[in-house]
Structure formats: structure tokens, C-alpha cells
Symmetry: C2
Subunit: 452 residues, 2 copies
């Protein structure tokens, strides 16, 4: 008998196989589960429901896995405009000859449109939270507010902009932290130690601490960058972050491929407030050499999460794809097929990615009280059958289009592949027009010079 004493839930997902936990080398799936959502939170998870749920809306998820919405710990969402605009080039040329000259053309409306397209793509492939690092960020925030997704937003700045960049980064973080009914959190977003002076890093760290948010920055992106910094000033980029108080304030570090062995104990000291983002597709594409030292960081207790970076380098904003490439490359690098099991890949997608954003316990897991960010993944396709190992199916077989339904903060944003908060045709029509104009480099200007 339904328990009439409890108020009805807003939404119930029934008959799903719930991913209850992924820790180290073990996943726990509960077939036939009911998940209830009330006021944007997971209010009840019942692996053995004895009765029909009392809920205003019920979604039957038979044949589907219910798992925590995926988290993209670092991207430049509006760079969807530049997807495919600079292919098969080295990273310095990519910045100096293509991206930074093109970004001169990007206006406020473009950031809104480009972010909308990014959000649409992410909702379609099961990403419910993303950390964004770009400019004209009020317009990115508006896209987040309008579409219902969750995001951590930071207004990027270079010291070459003068004091206005830093000031706007701080003002934006104040203005939007807790915005969009709490779905928006913010960061202070210096571009990188090689484009932002120590004084500005110090000010960023101080402002972040005062606001209770993190810094979000690029650092130690490859070994060459780390070595250059070490030779030029006797400090690795990670040591610069410590010296300037950024580690102490708490920081999202993209991408850390060049984190040296000597940096690891230092990062370990701040493991409760520091995380590293990992997006191997783009790193391989740029032939960046060493990949983020995930094993060493994990051993030191430093969380590492998945990211896609921008679509201009990664082509897609698909966390399933970067999870798969991470698992494959980690096995290969460590020369051990038994390392980085599917359970670990899923743990990194959930609680570890959440921890990178300082949101462990709030997102990235299906536990009562956590945010109701849930995706339903259909594993009935030929490419997933038979399901001898459900965790492996999620890591190695699932396609982004297998995500049938995406729920954020208890609200259904995509139902059975239909986007409910985005007008596809109108958006793409305007977006395509602007994409042509944005890639025009005839003006000969650039927003910055890249010297790592």
C-alpha cells in the first residue's frame, strides 16, 4: 500500500537499474529500482520497491540504467563556434594563427548562442554539469539559466587586459554565485600562470577565498610548459600556484599533463580543495606527449575528473568518449590491462569529477539528498548486448545517443531524445550564420599571443 503519510514526490523513475556506487574496483547496480525526486533533490532510492511510488510524474525506465548525470570539469562552451576551424595543427599555431584571431570576432550574443549549442550537445550526451572558462560570461550564465543545466562559471582574464579583466572575473563570480535557482556556482578564472602575473593570481586567490569559491585556471598543460617555468623562475607552474595562494584558496587545474613528480606531494597537501581535469582526446590530437599523471594523483588523494576542453580542440563535448579514451590510455600507459577497471572509470565520472568542482556529495552520485541530476541510458542496443558486465557496457560500448533522458535539478531537460528547453532549428540557423562570420581572420588582429 502506498504510504499516504508522505507527500507525493515531484517525479519518480521506476524499473531502472540504478548505479548506486562506483568505488575503486567495484560498482553496485540495483535492478528494478525506484528513484524519487522532490524539490530538485533525490528524496528516496528504493532498490526493492514493494509498491508503486506516489509521484506527480512517473518515468518508466525499464531496460535502462539510471546513473548520475555526467560532469564536464573544464570547457570553453561557446567555442562550439570554432569546432573544426583549426584541424591538424600544432597547439601554438592553433592559438596564434586560428583561435585567438577568430575570437576577436566573438561578441556577447555569440557567447550566448555558442553556449546554448554546447549545452544542447551536452544534454544530449548526458552531461548535466559543466565548468566553463570563457568571456562575456553573463551571457553564458543566461544560457545556463534558460536551459536548466547546472554549471560552474568563471570569467577568464589575462593580465594583458589590465586590471579590468581581474575585476570583472571577481564581479562576475559575486554576481552569479548561487544564480539560476542555485544551479550556477562560480570560480575566479585567471587564464594561466604564463599569461597572468603573480600579483593577479594572488588577488584571484584572495577573492576566491573571500567569496567561498575556487580558482579555475590552466596550469602545467604539458611538460615543456612546466620545464620552461622551472628554468625561467625556478618554480613549476604548480609551485607558482602555491606561492600565490591559489592552491590554498582551492583550484580547478586544467589540464596538468605537465605535473611533475615533485608537484604531487604539494598537490596532496591541498587535496581537499584542489582537483585536476583530464581530457585525453584533445591531448592526443595535439600530440602533447605525457598525459595527466592520474595514478600518482589518485595515490596522493588528489581528485581527477573528466573534461572535454572546448569543441575547437576536442571536437565533441562528450564525457562518455573521454571516459573511454581515459580508460584505454591509462591501461596502455601503465602497461597493465587490469588497472583502471570500469568501476574506476565510473568513479572518476561521478564522485571524483564532483570533487574537482568542490561538489562531492552534491552531484555525481545517486544518494538521498544529492541534487536530482540523473540520466537514463538505454543498454538494449545491439552494440551493448548481451550485458555480461554492465559497468563495461557503460565504459566501452554505450554511444552518446543511448542517453534517452536527462534530468537536472529534478527537471526533465531531454525526454526520449527530445530537448525540452532548447529550440533546435531556430538556434542552429542563427548559430551557423555567425559561425561563418566568426572564422573570418582578415582583420589581422588577435586577442593574445601564445608562448608557453
Amino acid at each position: 500500500m502506498p504510504d499516504e503519510s508522505r507527500p507525493p514526490a515531484d517525479l519518480a523513475i521506476v524499473n531502472c537499474t540504478a548505479l548506486l556506487a562506483a568505488t575503486g574496483d567495484r560498482t553496485t547496480f540495483a535492478p528494478g529500482s525506484t528513484i524519487e525526486i522532490t524539490n530538485g533533490r533525490l528524496s528516496n532510492i528504493d532498490p526493492n520497491p514493494s509498491e508503486s511510488p506516489r509521484a506527480r510524474e512517473v518515468i518508466d525506465a525499464r531496460g535502462m540504467v539510471a546513473m548520475p548525470g555526467l560532469i564536464n570539469t573544464h570547457c570553453h562552451a561557446a567555442m562550439t563556434f570554432l569546432r573544426g576551424a583549426a584541424e591538424d595543427v600544432a597547439v601554438s599555431r592553433w592559438f596564434n594563427d586560428y583561435i585567438w584571431p577568430m575570437e576577436v570576432n566573438v561578441g556577447e550574443r555569440d557567447v550566448y548562442l555558442g553556449t546554448l549549442v554546447a549545452v544542447a550537445e551536452m544534454i544530449e550526451c548526458g552531461v548535466t554539469t559543466f565548468a566553463d572558462h570563457y568571456f562575456f560570461m553573463d551571457h553564458a550564465a543566461q544560457a545556463v539559466a534558460d536551459t536548466g543545466v547546472r554549471a560552474n562559471l568563471g570569467s577568464a582574464f589575462f593580465s594583458s587586459q589590465g586590471p579590468e579583466g581581474l575585476a570583472e572575473s571577481i564581479a562576475f563570480a559575486e554576481r552569479w554565485n548561487g544564480g539560476a535557482d542555485g544551479r550556477i556556482t562560480t570560480s575566479i578564472a585567471p587564464h594561466a600562470p604564463y599569461t597572468v602575473h603573480d600579483d593577479d593570481l594572488r588577488a584571484a586567490a584572495k577573492a576566491a577565498s573571500a567569496l567561498g569559491v575556487r580558482v579555475h585556471t590552466h596550469a602545467s598543460e604539458d611538460t615543456a610548459q612546466a620545464t620552461l617555468s622551472l628554468h625561467a623562475r625556478g618554480l613549476t607552474p604548480i609551485q607558482v600556484l602555491q606561492e600565490t595562494g591559489v592552491l590554498d584558496a582551492g583550484v580547478i587545474i586544467a589540464h596538468g599533463n605537465g605535473i611533475l613528480g615533485s608537484d604531487i606531494p604539494l598537490l596532496g597537501q591541498y587535496r581537499d580543495r584542489v582537483g585536476v581535469t583530464h581530457g585525453p582526446k584533445g591531448y592526443l590530437k595535439f600530440a602533447m606527449g605525457e598525459l595527466t599523471p592520474i595514478a600518482a594523483l589518485r595515490a596522493a588523494g588528489v581528485p581527477v575528473g573528466y573534461c572535454t576542453d572546448g569543441a575547437a580542440s576536442n571536437n565533441t563535448l562528450d564525457i562518455f568518449e573521454n571516459m573511454r579514451i581515459t580508460a584505454l590510455t591509462q591501461k596502455q600507459i601503465r602497461d597493465d590491462a587490469t588497472w583502471f577497471k570500469s568501476a574506476m572509470a565510473l568513479e572518476m565520472a561521478g564522485p571524483e569529477s564532483a570533487a574537482v568542482l568542490g561538489m562531492r556529495g552534491q552531484i555525481g552520485e545517486l544518494t538521498v539528498g544529492a541534487c536530482a541530476d540523473v540520466i537514463l541510458v538505454d543498454v538494449s542496443g545491439f552494440h551493448c548486448q548481451p550485458v555480461h558486465d554492465l559497468a563495461a557496457a557503460l565504459v566501452y560500448s554505450v554511444q552518446p545517443s543511448d542517453v534517452r533522458t536527462t534530468i537536472v535539478d529534478g527537471r526533465v531537460l531531454m525526454r526520449d531524445r527530445q530537448l525540452l528547453t532548447i529550440n533546435r532549428d531556430a538556434l542552429l540557423a542563427e548559430f551557423r550564420l555567425r559561425a561563418r562570420e566568426i572564422t573570418d581572420r582578415s582583420h589581422g588582429r588577435s586577442i593574445q599571443d601564445y608562448t608557453s
Copy 2:
């Protein structure tokens, strides 16, 4: 005015963007093209059609790319039964503790069912030809005949089976070469130089030459295997293939990760009849170390094609996925972001993969007279937009579900994601039941022992 003097085509694809060529570092796409198909062949390709086509059936492919159907140069199709059955284990344990004990349970009907599931998955992701290497191959051939796909089939044998294995491999190749209205070609399929004696390799080569087909075998799968062979008998596995006449007969070599520098000139001598298959997803997953030396093989003129191996190791039979991982890993290995451009990735998918099977000019390209194996790929999704670089969209953005329509030998096998020759529900129901029984290892037997 339509030209009334020509007989109408069987099928016309109109308004497509046709991938006319991919060679080295250049792709040629023709928007607004019409492709006509007659008697299973491409009968006309018009990049500037001035009139409506005369055809019995017309497919409007607006917004889609028409490209050659993809080619899977090496797999074990029926191993779909074992997808996910042996995860996160090293290759020797994978064989000895899981796969070979499970394969004891695989019967004739299973090979039919498992191959049907593989074919369904491949049609859904745009694979129109696959090279298969398994046992009970009459039943695989029947699945190919029934579903309309194209395949090169080889009946695998070990010398431990006695003379029957070799005899059946030859008899099967005779029986089915040219079968299924010419869609089936065959190979002689010794398992590998470490499981097949030289005499049997010699007999296989002789039979292949007599029949005008190739040998299809595993060789030099990793560096350890090559080194072991070198120490044990003073010959690399590739040199064994030469000594036994296999290179001279023509051979599909899976997987060649352990091809040594000294093997390259030797393979180069037989480049008109020898090809190597490359499936990096599985190699990374097994932490196999070195990947197939694609650059050196290309430089020697030896064709290298994509493959997936079986779903038991690769989890999917998706050539788009292995193309993407190949491009990413090749850039990384060579430490050059400008190498392995999208055009090269697509060339390897088309004419190069065709050449591995000895079918260059027949499949893998859209040219008049070639087999009418065409897929229509929708690039209108958010994850592909905007399309600044269509080749890059195909290599780095497209999802398998973007393949909307798959045509083989002029026959539509999937139309707008609906499979037309496979009964999905009935097939999966029987398949899932057998999958549970096949993974039972309580009998304690094995079909072979793996010692590389």
C-alpha cells in the same frame, strides 16, 4: 530534361554531399550530388546534376554525407556472445581462463545468431563489408546471405585439430567463394604461426593460390610474440609467413603490432597482395605496448586497414570509433599534430582497407563501376555543427547513430535507422538466452591453450 535513352537506375541518392576521394592529405566532397545505382554497382555519380534522376527509387539525402560503406578488415563476428564476458584482464588470462573455455559451448546455431547480432551492429554503424575469422563458418555465411551484407569469410583452424581443420578451411573457401550473389569472398584461415605448423601454413598458402583467395591469419600480434619467435626459431612471425609461402600467396595480417623494422622491407616486397589490420581500441585495452607501425608500413606501400577484432575484446564493432582512436594515437605516437590528417584517416577507411582485403577499386570508394556500398551520414546534429571541416566532422565528431541509411550491393539494409533485413526483437531474445549458457565454464574444458 531527363535522358530517356538511358534505362532508369534501380536507386538514386539525390542532394547528398558525396565523398569523392580521400588521398593522403586531401578530401574531395561534392555537395548537391546525385548517385545512381544499377545492378548493385555505382552507375553514375553527378556532382552537378542538371535534372532529376530517372530511377525506380529515390532517396533524398539533403544534409547528409554519402560515403563508401566502412570496411572491418578483421573480426570474429560471432564473438558478440562474449561481449563484456572477460573485462580488465591480461590477454593470456583472457584466452585461457575465459574465452577458450567459453567457446567450448559455442555451437553451429550460435555462430549464426552471434554473426547476425554482429551484422546488425555493423549495419547500424555503417560497416558494409567485414572480414571474419571463426569456426562453423557455413553458419556465418548463412547470416551474411540472409542479411545482405558483404563479407570475406575464413574458417579458422589450429594444427592441434589434426588435418580436419585445414581441410575444412580449404573446403569452406571453395564452397562459399562468390556466394550470396557474389557478396561473399573467402580466405584460408590458419589461426597464427604459433598455433599452426609450418606444413599447414604451406598447405594453406598453396590452397589460397589455387583458389585465387588470400590467407587470413594472426601474426606478430605484439613485440613479445615477435621476439619469442625470433629467439625460438631465428625467424620473426612475418619471416615465417614468407618462408611458408603465405606472403607470396597474399595475406590479411592481424594485427601486426609486433612487426619489427626488419620486417617492413619484406612486407614491402609483397605490398600488392599483403595488408595489415589495425584495431587500436582493443590493443590499448589489453595494454599491448607498441601499436601497428602504420607510418613505416605506409612508407613501404603496404596497405593498413581498420578492424575491430571481436566484440569480446573490442566491445564494439564500430569502425568510426577505431578510425578516431587511430588518428588520435598516431598523432601522439609520432609526436606530430599535423600528421595523420582527417584525409588520411578517411583514405585508410576507404581504399586502404579495401586493399587489405584485395578489393581495391571494388569497395571503399565512390567511383562508377564500384560496388554500390554506400552509407548516408547525418552531420546536422549539435555535436557536428558548425561544419567548418567536413572530413574532421567525420573523423572526430560523428556518432555511429548518425549513420541513417546503409546500402550494400545496391540494396537498402537500413533506412533511417530501421534495419530492413533483421528481426531485432526475435533475434535478441534467442541471443540473450544462449549468451547466458555460453559463458558457463563449469565444464572445465578449453578449445586451445594460449602461449604466445
